[in-house]
């Protein structure tokens, strides 16, 4: 168990929720790992970046972050054996969070890069955004409560597992113990910190 070395800015008042929780953040060469790590540490969690499948299996909460291209990200996951570890976790009902590309990789496939097979933790596929300015960049309200989170994406999930949308686009999807978010909670200020604290309190 670690104690945060600095008090969080914009203290969400929920950071004790994370104290003592072991969080494994998949570090496979396609993530904004540092920001995700900092966000969980501000909440008091014992968070570490890892490419060791054993850490991913053992953690209270495993996080699959990700930015960039789907093909190189999947290759990185497979090379480290993290694809298997994530599948085993989710099959066992252990809490697992996918962020942005991490949500898209959890689907059955993505049409990015001419078609990429995903982890199949969520039904459906990632498709290129066809409306508005792309990349879809900035803060947008997420229904049903309308709180704004930060998005930066060119592809989006089409899935029957959607549980929340933003401007009609899948913002949150859940199947079993896997929860995927299209937005970046680690970059979404106090709203994002509150979201991550809720993830920890359920882990």
């Amino acid at each position: 168990m670690t104690v945060p070395d600095t008090a969080p800015r914009n203290d969400p008042g929920l950071h004790p929720a994370g104290v003592g929780h072991r969080v494994a953040i998949c570090d496979y060469g396609a993530g904004n790992v540092r920001s995700v790590l900092a966000a969980f540490r501000r909440l008091g969690a014992d968070a570490r970046a890892t490419r060791d499948p054993a850490d991913v299996l053992a953690a209270d909460l495993a996080v699959l972050p990700g930015v960039g291209s789907a093909r190189s990200a999947m290759a990185g996951l497979r090379a480290a054996g993290l694809d298997e570890a994530l599948s085993v976790r989710v099959a066992a009902g252990r809490p697992t969070l996918g962020i942005c590309l991490g949500l898209q990789l959890a689907l059955e496939e993505s049409e990015e890069d001419g078609g990429v097979a995903g982890l199949g933790l969520l039904p459906g596929r990632a498709r290129r955004l066809r409306e508005g300015r792309v990349p879809r960049m900035g803060w947008a309200p997420v229904e049903p409560d309308g709180e704004a989170f930060y998005f930066a994406h060119s592809y989006a999930a089409e899935t029957p597992a959607a549980v929340a949308r933003s401007e009609g686009i899948v913002a949150v999807a859940q199947a079993g113990s896997f929860l995927g978010v299209q937005f970046h909670p680690e970059k979404s200020g106090p709203a994002g910190a509150r979201f991550l604290a809720r993830c920890l309190s359920r882990a």
């Binding site: 800015r9 792309v134 960049m137 900035g138 803060w139 930060y150 401007e167 979404s188």
Partner: protein, 247 residues
């Protein structure tokens, strides 16, 4: 479309935030991490850190400064200045930046944009364009290139830019309003988000820019007093600009 964004810009030189008028007469206005945190608390939607002397002095950026910012802040931030290769950009993202901005190096070698997009994804690649009289200028505004800003923006998008940060050197630091004609021309010519930059003096100017561009860069207007950003948000909402609830 996501909500309009207000993006304070911190020009950094030798590890301190500085500000000049029309790119000249730089003076210190504060510490980057402290100012970044103050803007975040005042409701900044994102931040941009530009190392305004990196290219001129051939200096590398300060990864440790970026790491401190990433530890402190939970909003996105872009880092630019002196990025000349995909390896430079990768180091900035590894240090904790969310996006990199390229300017001079991309004009000199446009293939750099594609290399960055391939390695980092377009969402992490901001092409910064400094324009005077509609002409692209590089090296912190000191070198006219003869290139038309609109056509360069179009090429940058085609090569993989995820955003265009468009600064009018004519308007920069004057607080007389954004260059709406240039901003409008670029925003109509590309389909990626455009960040308007240079010239904000009052809320009305920002509202005008946000009627055309997806985000507005703020420098002089908020540097004297970061809490000015909080007031500005209230004024903009009063003018009908739909900003996020930053609480």
């Amino acid at each position: 479309m996501p909500l309009p964004r207000l993006i304070p810009c911190l020009d950094v030189a030798a590890g301190r935030v500085v500000k000049g008028v029309r790119f000249q007469g730089l003076r210190e206005v504060g510490d980057p991490v402290e100012l970044g945190a103050a803007y975040s608390e005042a409701g900044a939607d994102e931040l941009v850190f530009l190392d305004v002397r990196a290219t001129l002095e051939e200096r590398s950026l300060l990864p440790e400064l970026i790491a401190r910012v990433a530890e402190e802040l939970s909003i996105p931030f872009t880092v630019g200045g002196g990025v000349r290769s995909a390896a430079d950009a990768e180091a900035l993202l590894a240090a904790g930046a969310d996006k990199v901005a390229v300017n001079s190096a991309a004009v000199e070698r446009p293939a750099l944009i594609g290399e960055l997009a391939e390695l980092l994804g377009s969402q992490a690649v901001v092409v910064a364009i400094d324009a005077a009289g509609g002409e692209v200028c590089t090296r912190a505004g000191t070198a006219p290139t003869g290139r038309d800003a609109v056509s360069w923006a179009v090429e940058a998008e085609a090569r993989g830019a995820g955003e265009i940060l468009l600064t009018s050197i004519d308007a920069d630091g004057t607080r007389a309003g954004y260059d709406l004609a240039l901003t409008g021309a670029v925003a109509s010519a590309v389909s990626v988000p455009v960040i308007a930059s240079g010239g904000a003096g009052e809320a009305r100017h920002v509202a005008e820019a946000l009627g055309i561009a997806q985000a507005a860069l703020l420098a002089s207007i908020v540097h004297e007093r970061p809490s000015r950003l909080r007031e500005l948000r209230v004024e903009l909402r009063g003018l009908g600009v739909p900003l996020r609830d930053a609480a």
